[in-house]
Structures are given as structure tokens and as C-alpha cells.
Symmetry: C3
Subunit: 337 residues, 3 copies
């Protein structure tokens, strides 16, 4: 049997009713979970491809990801993953998702995501093992990869931890205020949520984060909502089996047609550690509201009340304008080429 290249992977999944909202659009969280699973498989396979210490690749970071078109129940999601760069201790994976309508054969690009994994020893979870280098087709690929590696490393160090922020329940909030739509859910981490190392899969965490963000968005605008994008997420802290995780979301910003929701993941490792409750992950999700025909609808303006809410709104506006400017620059560059 011929060797299969370890640096490439392709998989097809049928989307089921439980994966979708009431309008039949597959939740962004389901897609993030598929993306992460493909990334984890390909990087674990690569890191074990030479006679080194057995290891499991753990998700360290997901770059900003856009959801380019919605996927529907009954469609096939084609997931392909490729290792695009390796440093001494990390692996960069590019995962693309393409939706396919089986009845018409029509295909659409849904996502292009970039993920970073770090291989942890199966025998000692605190030890990062060495990554076998990949072969590049062209010299520039390695240089560009190195540049991306340095950039994300810097960004990971800079991450605002926002550790002081907790979401408190509000009594009788007014419609369209932050307190009105804020939501949280609590999940007991079971064995099927975890890797062989006994820590939660990054994809499981992202799926729950999207679930909370979706409830916040739907409570705010009371229509059919879909995930439009997720900001870069850093996974600084592992979450152990048996922990209880609280995922909380609050709206930070609205433009005419989009909502930004900040999501926090806090872990309580109470059962077998002396450790305190800690902030494991935080991220910004952007949602849009869609009509039955799939057209974007206007979104009610978020009413900010406290000084903190007003500050967060301005920060969200900053991120929104920055992303918008970046996209326009890309369009102009594309037009010039």
C-alpha cells in the first residue's frame, strides 16, 4: 500500500439537523469544530511521523476566520487540511471548507482558516516535543511562513487577558441594552470532549463559545442569525477532564448590519487540583442577521449605559473599522493585479 503524504488531508461530512439553527443554516461552531479536528489530526500525524517521542498536537491559536457563505442541512462539508509551516515546536495548518449541494453539485468556499498547534508529549503533558521539518516547494514559502510565525508569536504575547472582566446578571434589563442579551452556559467536561491527554479539544471549546454568542445575538435582534467571523483566539490555558466550564457572552458593538460579541471561557478545576477558577480563553465573534431569503438585515443599535460599556463599544468600533479598511485594501490590491 502506497504511502499517503502526511501533510495533506481531505474529509467529507454530511450536515445534520442538530448542526443547524431553525432556518437550516449550520452553526459556525460546528464548522469551527470540524476545522479544528482536521487540524489536530494532521498535525498529530505529522509530529509522530518520525521516530520521536509519541505526542498529541494541542491547539495553541486560531487566526481570524471569516465565514464566507452559509452551509445548509443535507449539504456535504468538504474539509481539506495542509501543513504550511513548521517551527521547532509548532505546526501551522491551513484548513479549507467547501460546502457542496449534493443534489445540484454546486460548491462554495465556506472558510479558510489558519491554526497553530504545539505537540505535547503523551507521557509528560508539560513537555513540548520537537516538530519534524516539512519540505517546501519553493524557498519563499518557508520565508513567508516564518514571517507569519513571528507575527502570531508577538500577538500571543500581547493578548489582553481581560481577566478582570466578569459578566453579572442584570435584573429587568431594557431591550437592546448589554444586560438584556448577555448569556452564559455551564458545561461539565466529559471524556468525549477530551484528547488522549485528558484536555478539552480546542474545537469543543470553540463550538460552545459560538453557541453562547449565537444566543446573545438572537436575543438582541430576535431574527435568524449566523456567524460572520471570529477574531484570532489564543488558547493559553488547558482545561482538564472533570472541570466545569462557564462560557459567558455579552454584546460589545453593533454596526448597521453586524453585532460583535465578546465571549469568555472560565474553568473550575475543583475536583482534582488545588487550583482556583481561571480564565482559559476569550474571543470576539461577529454575527449578522439574515432574512428568510438569506439577505442581511439591519440590526438594532446596542444601547450602552455604563462607562465600561461605552468604552468597549468604541473599541469594537475600532476593530470593525480596521477590518473594513483591511478588506478594502485587499480588494484594491486584487484589482491592481
Amino acid at each position: 500500500m502506497q504511502a499517503v503524504p502526511v501533510t495533506l488531508l481531505a474529509s467529507a461530512w454530511i450536515m445534520r439537523p442538530d448542526d443547524a439553527n431553525f432556518a437550516g443554516n449550520v452553526h459556525g461552531g460546528i464548522i469551527l469544530k470540524m476545522i479544528e479536528e482536521a487540524g489536530a489530526i494532521i498535525s498529530t500525524r505529522h509530529c509522530n511521523s518520525q521516530d520521536g517521542e509519541p505526542c498529541v498536537a494541542a491547539l495553541a491559536r486560531v487566526e481570524r476566520t471569516d465565514f464566507l457563505s452559509p452551509v445548509c442541512i443535507g449539504e456535504v462539508a468538504n474539509v481539506s487540511a495542509e501543513i504550511t509551516y513548521t517551527s521547532r515546536h509548532s505546526v501551522e495548518v491551513q484548513v479549507n471548507v467547501m460546502s457542496e449541494n449534493i443534489l445540484t453539485g454546486a460548491k462554495k468556499v465556506t472558510n479558510k482558516a489558519t491554526l497553530w498547534y504545539v505537540p505535547l508529549s503523551l507521557k509528560n503533558v508539560n513537555k513540548v516535543v520537537e516538530v519534524p521539518p516539512i519540505q517546501y516547494a519553493r524557498k519563499e514559502q518557508e520565508e513567508e511562513g516564518k514571517k507569519r510565525y513571528e507575527e502570531q508569536k508577538l500577538d500571543r504575547l500581547e493578548t489582553k487577558q481581560r481577566n478582570g472582566d466578569v459578566i453579572f446578571p442584570i435584573i429587568n434589563p431594557e431591550p437592546h441594552t448589554v444586560g438584556y442579551s448577555q448569556s452564559s452556559l455551564i458545561h461539565l467536561v466529559g471524556p468525549s470532549d477530551c484528547t488522549l491527554l485528558g484536555f478539552v479539544h480546542g474545537g469543543v471549546t470553540m463550538k460552545l463559545m459560538d453557541e453562547v454568542a449565537g444566543i446573545v445575538a438572537a436575543r438582541h435582534c430576535k431574527t435568524n442569525i449566523v456567524t460572520a467571523s471570529v477574531d484570532a483566539i489564543n488558547f493559553h490555558e488547558k482545561i482538564k477532564k472533570g472541570s466545569v466550564i462557564t462560557i459567558s457572552g455579552r454584546m460589545t458593538f453593533t454596526s448597521n448590519k453586524s453585532m460583535e460579541i465578546e465571549v469568555f471561557v472560565d474553568a473550575d478545576p475543583f475536583v482534582d487540583e488545588a487550583r482556583e477558577r481561571y480564565r482559559a480563553v476569550s474571543a470576539f465573534f461577529t454575527y449578522v442577521s439574515l432574512s428568510k431569503e438569506g439577505k442581511p438585515l439591519p440590526v438594532p443599535q446596542l444601547l450602552t449605559e455604563t462607562e465600561d460599556e461605552k468604552r468597549r463599544f468604541e473599541e469594537g468600533k475600532g476593530r470593525y473599522l480596521q477590518t473594513k479598511a483591511k478588506r478594502q485594501a485587499q480588494l484594491q490590491q486584487a484589482a491592481l493585479q
Copy 2:
């Protein structure tokens, strides 16, 4: 980061197609499972909040629970849990479920459940550890809790074990007899069904019990049926990972608009113990039949044949009349206040 009070918990879940029957009503078993998960989390968190032995809270008892209004696919179930009493070795948790229609914002109380947990040591599952006492806002709260504690303790001792009762298959039963609708299912206990201690979550057992009771009810009246209430359930015996459980249900009583179904859970721990098959749990579920518009429908009368069936029907009638009288007394009391 500010401390979160360990005695309070709130969580929001979106209801999915797999959670519901063909009329779109979420199965009572799904709601019981959510309730139990919230109770297990809050009591485990509380019991580990001081520097004692690490432990996991195991469900000992659920008080009688009414399903006040059906929940539908796409709605958000808001689960809130609060510790309302602690004895030396047990925790009483009050869990409320409120359904929320995200499109209209309408909210309805669905359940108010009371559960009792016992903390078992993580190192020695046969050892019950001590529960840290909670603070009461008023002195009377502690006294009322103590009264409830004594009552349930008495009831747990009194539990008729009904261990002699086994459900045998009937050949060619007549419609509306007990044998016609009786049903059973068999489940292999896997890792995702179990707590950190390797025993089945009480909520998983209740979900399967409701599944069998629902098949019995649907076979009897051939319409859309929903869970109306569950009698107090005592969990005397733990069920270990790798066991096979047989859940059997038979109809015991019908009123004009309700059906009572008795459900047994038997465990076969054959794989790693010398132990015999044993009765782990038993309970009564009450179902009603609903029209497409959600109105209660008349239920065909149960045809009893044997002496045992007639005796069980009379016992069921007793429970039905007792519950009815209790509810009327509550209504009168409420009217007087």
C-alpha cells in the same frame, strides 16, 4: 477576578431537533437530564469549595416534578440552580427551567425541581465526605430545609423496592391492554454516560426512563404525547461503566386525560464483578396526549386483565386522586393568601 458565589448557577441551552418528538415538543427526559447536570455541577462545586477531600456529588433523589408547559425546538431553555439546604452529608438543590422563545422574547416557567446529592470521595467511592454548611438569609430557611430533609429521608427508607416485578413479553396482545404497550430498551453504559467516578449520571438514567415511558404512552394512545410529571425517584444503587442496563415500562393507570407508566431500571454488572443483575431505580411517569394545537386529548382507558394489573390500576388511581387533592388544596391556599 471577583469570586462567583458557588451556591448559584445559571445556564442557557438551545433546544435541537434530536431533543424533540415529531410534534416539536422537547422530550421530558432531555429536560430532566439538563436539570440533573446543573444540580450535579453546583453541588460538586460547593462540596469542593473548602479544603476537604476532593469529591463528586452523586444524585440520591429527585422530588416529584411537574412539567408545567412544553418546550419547543429552537427555544432557549434557561436553567438556574441554587443550593437551598445542606445536611452533614447531603445537599438540596432547587433547579428551575424557563423556556424562552427567542423570536418573541416570551418566557414560560417549565419546571421547578428539587434534587438531593451526596458527595462521594474521588479516591474512595464508598466514602461519603462532609458537606460545607451554607449560609441562610433567614433562620426559618434552615428550619424548613431541615424539615424537607427529614421527610425525604423517611420516604427513601420506605421506598417499595418492587423487586419481584419483571416485565415479560406477551404474544399477540389486544389493543389497550398492559401487554400491548409495554416496552423495553437495553443500553450499554459507555464513558460519556458516566461521572469522574465511573458511575452513570442520574440524568442519563432519567433520560432513558423517559424514552421508554414515552414509547409505552405513544403505543397506547397513538398520538403525540408529552411528559406531564415524574414521581419522586430514589437512586439507591449505583450503575458502573461497562454495565448493561435494561429499562422496562408498563402502563399502570389511565384517567380521562392522563396515563401513568411504571419504569424499572435493571443493571447487569457482568463484566467485572461477581455481582448479580439488580434493580437500580424505579419510578412512575405521567403522560398526557396533545392535539396539534397543544390541547389535551382524551386517552383510551387501560384494559386490565390479571389480578396484579387490577391492583396496580387501583394503586395508580390512589396516587392520581392524592395528587389532584394536593393541587386543589394548594390552589385554595393560594386564593386565601
Copy 3:
């Protein structure tokens, strides 16, 4: 409590939206998984019924299985299993599935499957323990069982391993060619996929195989498709927790109204073994295309291009004609009786 005969088992399951395709027909893979679970439970129970070494029954082989009528969402699948033969080291189980429309009470036979299990010691997974003999009602039952045992033993030795065959991606394939519909999916084996011994349940593997075969069939004919039959499957190689499995399918043959799809399961045990990627299972699935009213539709002819494809098409035709002849002989025999 009266002893329950260990050689008989009956279970009822409600079919859910996630179990079905967009036309509401339950996937064959879901039914295969239910069948295998029932077989595993009854044979594990039987093999532990005497005071021998604790053991878990592992699936060794499934005989050719026909799907006689489709099952729909909301119907109850009644699964009954019976041990029909035991050799010194293996157990033959007959599993029947009957679908039941709860609203009308109508029942239809869906499947009659025969499975072979081998009990592996819980302490030493490489040791096959002895099977307690069953009692036969008539002497001929034992003789017929022995004959089936010898036949399947021979067939298991003969199994063409097809180990040289790998499915490669094709760039821009023409519609109705083999490359156009071939598909694969990749799955990380988690704890809920595995038995107590830490190896994948046979039913989990068959469910994933049916999932890939269904995508191949739907891509080829772009209509609603259902599993019509599965050829005998031998499970030569166990798959360990933590492995990554790649399931690949390609169309081998089309008749006027059916499609034959060959499915391969390859396992990568990279994490904790020095072992190479290996072929764990392979099988042929037959699918038909159904109209909205459930009538069989004509299927587009498969376009074969390479010599290998033409050879496989002829082999598939051979299997098709053999099955057809066998069925006609059975019908004639039935008419004579």
C-alpha cells in the same frame, strides 16, 4: 426476581432527525450500529454467564445483510437478538429489526442479520476465552449452526485483503466516472467509540462506512439514496482508541437500479505504537435511488476509464448476478414448499 434468559434480548428505539437523510429515511449505518450493539450485549452477557474469566465480546464478522424496507423518523425500531450457535471460541447471534409506526401500529421487518463474536479477556485482550455452550431445542439446530460456523470460517480465511488498493484524488473528474463520486472521511477515535477493552465498536465502524458509501452514491446520482444491502464484512484487525481512521469509498458497479460501492477502512495507530498504517476492514455496500414516493429510480450508468475500473465493474457484475440468482432460487424454493 426471576432469572432472565441470557440468550434472548429485545429493545425499542425511537428514530431521530439526526439518524435520517433529508427524505426522512433512517441511514442504514444507524441500523447496523443498533444491530451490532444488541449483538455485543447479548454475547458479552452470555460469555460472562458462568464463573469464567471476565470478557468482552468483539465483533468478528457480519454476514451479508439486506435492508428489506426503509425506516422513517419518529418510527420505533424494535431490535431483538438471540444466540443461535456457539463454538468453543465464538458466538453466532441472529438480530432482527422491525420498524413500527407508532401512530398506525403498522410493523414491517427491516433486517435479519447474523453476526459472529469472539470473547476477549478483559485482563489480556490478546486472549480468547472459552464460550459456555448453549442448549438447543432440537438436535438439528446444533448441526445447522455447525455448518454455518464452518462456512464462515472458510470465507474469513479466503477474504481478499485488497491491501494494494488506495483511493487517490482525481483533478476535474467527468460526471459519472469513478473519480467524480469517490469520497473519504477521517475520524479521530474517541472514548465513546470504544468498548471497555479500548477498541472501536464494530457498529461504529460500520456506521462510518455507510456514511461514506452514502456520500459516494448521492454524488453519483444526485437523488435521495438508501442502503439496500451490505456484503459480508470481516473484522480482522482491531482499531485502538486514539487512532485516526480514514474511510474511503468508490463506486465499482451500477445495474439499472442499484449502485455497488467499495469501502476501505485504514487505521493510523501513530500515537502509542510503532505500528504502520494498516487496512482494518473493507466491504461492499449496495445502494438504490428512491423517488419522493419511495419508488426505485433508474441510476446513471458508471463510466469506467482505467483497466482496473473495468475489471472491478465486471467483478461487481458477477456479485450482482450471483445475488440475483440466489434470491430467485430462494423464491422458487419458497413457492415449492
